[in-house]
Subunit: 113 residues, 2 copies
Amino acid sequence: MSDPLSLTFAALADPTRRAILARLSEGDATVNDIAAPFAMSLPAVSKHLKVLETAGLITRSRTAQWRPCHLEAAPLKDANGWISRYRRFWEASFDRLDDYLAELQAGDPDKKS
Amino acid sequence: MSDPLSLTFAALADPTRRAILARLSEGDATVNDIAAPFAMSLPAVSKHLKVLETAGLITRSRTAQWRPCHLEAAPLKDANGWISRYRRFWEASFDRLDDYLAELQAGDPDKKS
DNA sequence: GCTTTATTAAACTCATAAGCTAATTAACCT
DNA sequence: AGGTTAATTAGCTTATGAGTTTAATAAAGC
């Protein structure tokens, strides 16, 4: 229904799902493995995995009764591409912060003493 | 209620809001200016702006009866920081794609003729 | 064939998101 | 004061998200 970028950002907008991706960055894992650290039912985790799969952030294979999940970073590349177009704005802010810090360092000569 | 990163990603998960940010990257704008391109009521746009404001992606000042919106990219920096930790994964995919393209270029000697 | 293990599906609740129209606030202009 | 313009609030509808428990599916192992 939604465009791919919206699906990706929506999938990333949940801390549980971001934690799942972090876990998968260390290697493939089964649903039970993935669910273990969470204080949440297995079906809930299964739903999170479906959201990630729909967004293309994971794929699942079938080995016996296990469905190991695998990280797929391609959508992250697109998300990164979108955000990166704003880099100059946050770097500009950093420059201003640097100026401010330099000013502080200099003893803020105009404002006090 | 949510953590800042979740708020940021949730805010970005809507194409209207992403378009608003794109518009603001060209300069500050009033609510009416922002709303003009969208086939949507003004209150709907106003709500989108509130979502962006709550996520810290915009700030609003008051000039007479106008409330010009200003892009604030700091949350994008954090979102970028989170995503960037996965860069090696999508670059790895790219490497594989490069290999594949190189293989195609070479005439795929093992598979046909 | 029956049981255990792994995972998903179904059916439900509750909260929030996105949109609308109509009404309200706020500031400007005569 | 009264009218116009800019923007938000209120109240509503509809859809979706996140979680639950219980039930079903699929494959393995005895």
